[in-house]
Amino acid sequence: MNPIEIENITKKYRISKGFNWKKNLKQLLKMEKPDYLTALNKVSFSVKKGEIFGILGPNGAGKTTLIKILAGLLLPEEGKAAINNHDLIKDREKVRTSVNILMSGGWIIFDYKLSIYNNLKFWSVAEGLRLSEVKKRIEEVLKIVGLEDKKDDFPENLSAGLRQKMNLARCLLSDRPIYLLDEPTSNVDPYSSEFIRKFIKEMKKDGKTVVLATHNLWEAELLCDRIAILNRGSILVLDETRAIKERIGKEILTVELEKITPELVRDVSSFGFVEKVIEEKNILKIYGNIKRNIPVVIDLCRKYTNIIGVDMKESSLNDVFLQLITEKEKAMVMK
């Protein structure tokens, strides 16, 4: 059985618009139904052991809600889930102690008037480490996150990046099979972000199962084996990162020309492998299954004008993501 198996998870939040006597009384007397926001709508997936699974989505897509449900900190209205073979509802305490959760601003749990070492000391014993083991373990995790020379520093004197490393150190005090990382590199400088990304790769090597919620698409593309793109609580697409790009992504040929004529645009658009042509000043952006057909397009362009430059690229996950979200939003408007 996979370490994470979830099926038809639905989560709704009651919308609160401040205190309103009339409305609250009506809701209390069941004369009026409260307003709900569907944060997750029948979400299903499984994550294999040693896999890095990305949850992508814009703000408010339901990423944090999903992470909290996987951690057993939030109860879904519908659906079932098993985390590390423990039932999410019946064995909630075992689910909670099977996962290590890292929130983006999670360092707020640290007391600003205590050194990093003294802060970590409490969380070490909370994880069941014996007093005799605490010092060694804290030194180990501080070394892993590169804070070994900062153990006597106070959190208030650390930069955002170092605070996130401190948070990561807390997360590593106990050895658990599943890591739930919610925006681990947000508000963190590029150097520290790179460190955290390397670290996530190391986790995979150690056989840990990682769920990474992020809106950093480049990061997801770099790290994740599979990705679920979430929007308004629903999964739009779920597949291997490469497969998503191949299935939904486009190849883009950019041709810089001396001049562009309507006839040239018409003829390029008429090719069966071309999906879309965009004209920007003297640049043509040609979308579609282009890679194998570059010579045909170039020959056509030469018939009309001189070519100044040619560039070919595959759309990134970012392009795929934007395309999917835009299509979904358009469909909603049409509805």
């Binding site: 601003g105 749990i109 409490f122 014993v125 909370a126 106990s174 658990r176």
Partner: protein
């Protein structure tokens, strides 16, 4: 990977938490010094009130009478506020979620917080008595059965814990996330007036005395005074009756408090309100 802590590991958590709080306490040196200055001034105020109040029928010297009231009030206020205060601080600092995902569990964390808080309250009480006796000359009778004060105090703490837990449950159940939660605040405030902390409840108007009779602290304060000022012991019917009342209050209030507190946590798990910011 541990799912729960052993008893020894739980003791380790309590010990490290105590050390942590002590470090923080000493770190804020001005606050540390001024808390003692404030207690000294409070004792001095009541000493001078005693100069013109003098004797109180049934209990004798007012200064000794009020010192006992102040001491028990420390435990009362601590018990009524500790659960809500801890809940509030865990919510705003995101500790609650992290504690729930650790094998430590909430019970061990609350035990740690309570151990520190009651040690702190006991130290304050000791300070009240030391200053009261050695600086201002308060006189107490310490009969051989004075030990009975300890079980009475423990029963008082258990029964008030029920109210404290109900108050804490309001944080989640009724979204009482402001500075004042009506139940705990109401009981704590009314106690000062009607439970006999500063004066015997018999001087209150008859309807207000009825309120004092439904509060466990009224009985505990009276019994402890009878022991320490009048030398009464376990053989005294009024002391025995107090113990019975306190056991009854504990049996009724504590399960209600625990039920409501757990209901509050369950509601927060459903609504996603275990933490404020994340």
């Amino acid at each position: 990977m541990k799912h729960a802590l052993s008893s020894l590991e739980k003791l380790g958590v309590i010990w490290v938490y105590l050390c942590r709080r002590a470090k923080l306490w000493f770190r804020f040196k001005i606050s540390f010094i001024f808390s003692f200055v404030a207690m000294f001034v409070t004792i001095a105020i009541f000493y001078f009130i005693n100069v013109f109040v003098g004797e109180i029928p049934e209990y004798g010297n007012y200064f000794a009478f009020v010192l006992i009231g102040l001491a028990i009030n420390q435990y009362m206020q601590t018990t009524l506020s500790i659960y809500l205060g801890t809940m509030r601080s865990m919510y705003w600092s995101n500790w609650l979620e992290i504690i729930l995902t650790s094998p430590m569990r909430l019970k061990t964390f609350f035990s740690s917080v309570m151990t520190w808080t009651y040690l702190y309250a006991t130290m304050n009480v000791a300070f009240y008595f030391i200053i009261g006796i050695f600086v201002f000359g308060a006189k107490f009778t310490f009969p051989a059965t004075a030990w009975i004060v300890i079980p009475i105090l423990i029963l008082l703490i258990i029964s008030l814990s029920g109210i404290g837990l109900i108050s804490a449950s309001m944080f989640m159940l009724a979204n009482a996330k402001g500075d004042i939660e009506p139940i705990g605040w109401g009981v704590a405030t009314i106690s000062g007036l009607v439970a006999g902390v500063y004066f015997p409840p018999k001087y209150l108007p008859a309807p207000v005395q009825l309120i004092s009779k439904i509060l466990p602290q009224t009985y505990a304060i009276d019994a402890i005074r009878r022991i320490l000022l009048n030398g009464e012991g376990i053989s005294s019917p009024s002391i025995q009756l107090t113990i019975v009342y306190l056991i009854a209050f504990s049996i009724i209030l504590l399960p209600i408090g625990m039920f409501m507190f757990n209901a509050g946590i369950r509601k927060a798990e459903k609504e996603g309100t275990l933490a404020r910011w994340m």
